[in-house]
């Protein structure tokens, strides 16, 4: 697992209170990890903080899986 993927997984586990092995790159925040729309807003804020990236609302709306988040961060982090 890449460093980014590893750190994303840790944040998701901490915020959603789910088992780490469920947080695969394919996992959907809502369908697989029990998040709601507000949880995703909070996760996006945590990603921004952790990686020093800005994730605008229109980009955040397209992040539905753990892999989407990892990919966006990999592409945009400084």
């Amino acid at each position: 697992m890449s460093d980014t993927a590893d750190r994303v997984q840790k944040i998701v586990v901490e915020h959603l209170g789910v088992e780490a092995d469920k947080v695969t790159q394919d996992a959907s925040f809502i369908d697989d990890l029990g998040a709601d729309s507000l949880d995703i807003v909070e996760l996006v804020m945590a990603f921004e903080e952790e990686f020093g990236v800005e994730i605008p609302d229109d980009a955040a709306e397209k992040i539905t899986t753990v892999g989407d988040a990892t990919k966006y961060i990999e592409e945009h982090k400084g």
């Binding site: 915020h15 959603l16 029990g34 949880d39 909070e42 804020m45």
Partner: protein, 419 residues
């Protein structure tokens, strides 16, 4: 007429994370007070409180038992305490597995005096230091007072009345009284009712200290600081925690063979119309509330065996006592009266509900909890059994529970044993 009984109890207090631990420690004369551990008290005029203890403590509270990790992160402590106490009460009542029909006739009336002050403090600083985009999306619903009732209804699927009282330190008593009325009126057959508070944070302690409400002279002697009726009393000690009871329509409880602790027979309410923080000097509002409760209960002064006083360890204690004497007689017609705030501090919006649970347990075990630190009783206490220092075995068939709050809001509850 529909009668209302209590069939389940739940507590989170500075003396325990559950009902039996809290009660055992209370009766043993333990104090929940100590130096504040939650935050750095540098610069605070008051540095002591009755905190709910962490789970590794001898009588600590384990939030993981009944509150999801995710919710714990999103909400303020008062909501966590409230959800847990409600869960305890439902389990105690044997109502964790309700059918859909009963769920639609089961509601929640769990309030708080202040609500999510710690989160308001933290997010306010966050807003100013880091900007609006860093405020938590869970900020609002993690602080709102009605979100104990909201969270509990979601967790257990309860679709009856969803209500939350906000009457400062009368909240817990009003919550139970209002919920009992909802059952009497046929709005519900079962209600989870109670109150919760969790404001041991820098802003909460500073605010009450500035209002000159807290004890600030005994920071070096925390367990002696809450001393209701004692000449040396000098302000209350802040507590935190929650009390929730299951109220149930009597025939409904009987039909399912529920354990019945007590019946809620009297509820009185009034306003002081006097001052925002000080009680009416003659205790007129308190008297009105007690008299209304007695009248509703169809009882007389001599029927009351135990009074759980509001008794916060402020100058108001003797004002309340004078009012109780006018209602029950100079010797309280033989009733004992104590303030459990001497042991657990003042739980503010949680106080009335936690104390109602103590009243019920006093009837169950035929013992009344003590008033700690009552070394030198103030004038006006002569001839009244204030149960100093140690718990007292005695007959307890009916109880009166007083709660008074800022704004001059008063509530009195009367409960009695069911034969």
């Amino acid at each position: 007429m529909r009668r209302v009984v209590v069939t389940g109890l739940g507590l989170v207090t500075p003396l325990g994370g559950d009902v039996e631990t809290s009660w055992k420690n209370l009766i043993a004369g333990k104090s929940g007070a100590g130096p504040i551990t939650r935050f750095d008290t540098e610069g605070q005029k008051c540095t002591i409180a009755c905190e709910v203890k962490p789970k590794d403590h001898e009588y600590g509270f384990d939030p993981d038992k009944r509150v999801d990790h995710k919710i714990q992160r999103q909400v303020d402590p008062f909501i966590v305490y409230g959800i847990d106490a409600a869960g305890q009460a439902l389990e105690d009542a044997g109502l964790t597995d309700m059918d859909d029909d009963l769920k639609t006739r089961t509601g929640c009336s769990i309030g708080s005096g202040i609500g999510g002050l710690p989160g308001i403090e933290i997010e306010s600083v966050n807003l100013h230091e880091r900007g609006p985009g860093r405020v938590s999306p869970h900020f609002v619903h993690g602080r709102l007072i009605n979100l104990i009732s909201g969270q509990v209804s979601i967790k257990y699927g309860l679709m009856g009345p969803n209500h939350a009282v906000v009457t400062a330190c009368s909240t817990g008593a009003h919550s139970i009284g209002d919920a009992a009325r909802m059952i009497k009126d046929g709005d519900a057959d079962v209600m989870l009712a109670g109150g919760s508070e969790g404001t041991i944070n820098p802003l909460g302690v500073a605010g009450f200290a500035q209002a000159r409400a807290l004890n600030m002279s005994m920071n070096d002697r925390p367990t002696e600081a809450s001393r209701p009726y004692d000449k040396g009393r000098d302000g209350f000690v802040m507590g935190e925690g929650a009390g929730v009871v299951v109220l149930e329509e009597y025939e409904h409880a009987k039909a399912r063979g529920a354990k019945i602790y007590a019946e809620v027979v009297g509820y009185g309410l009034s306003g002081d119309a006097y001052h925002v923080t000080a009680p009416h000097p003659e205790g007129k509002g308190a008297e009105l509330a007690m008299r209304m409760a007695l009248r509703k209960a169809g009882m007389e002064a001599g029927d009351i065996d135990y009074v759980n006083a509001h008794g916060t360890s402020t100058m108001a204690d003797t004002i309340e006592l004078a009012a109780v004497k006018r209602v029950l007689g100079d010797d309280l017609s033989g009733a004992s009266m104590s303030s459990t705030k001497s042991a657990i501090g003042h739980l503010l919006g949680g106080a009335g509900a936690v104390e109602a649970v103590f009243c019920i347990l006093a009837m169950r075990d035929q013992i009344v909890p003590p008033t700690l630190n009552l070394d030198d009783p103030d004038e006006g206490t002569e001839g009244v059994d204030l149960v100093p220092h140690v718990a007292k075995k005695r007959e307890v068939n009916a109880v009166l529970n007083n709660s008074f709050g800022f704004g001059g809001t008063n509530a009195s509850l009367i409960m009695k044993k069911v034969d």
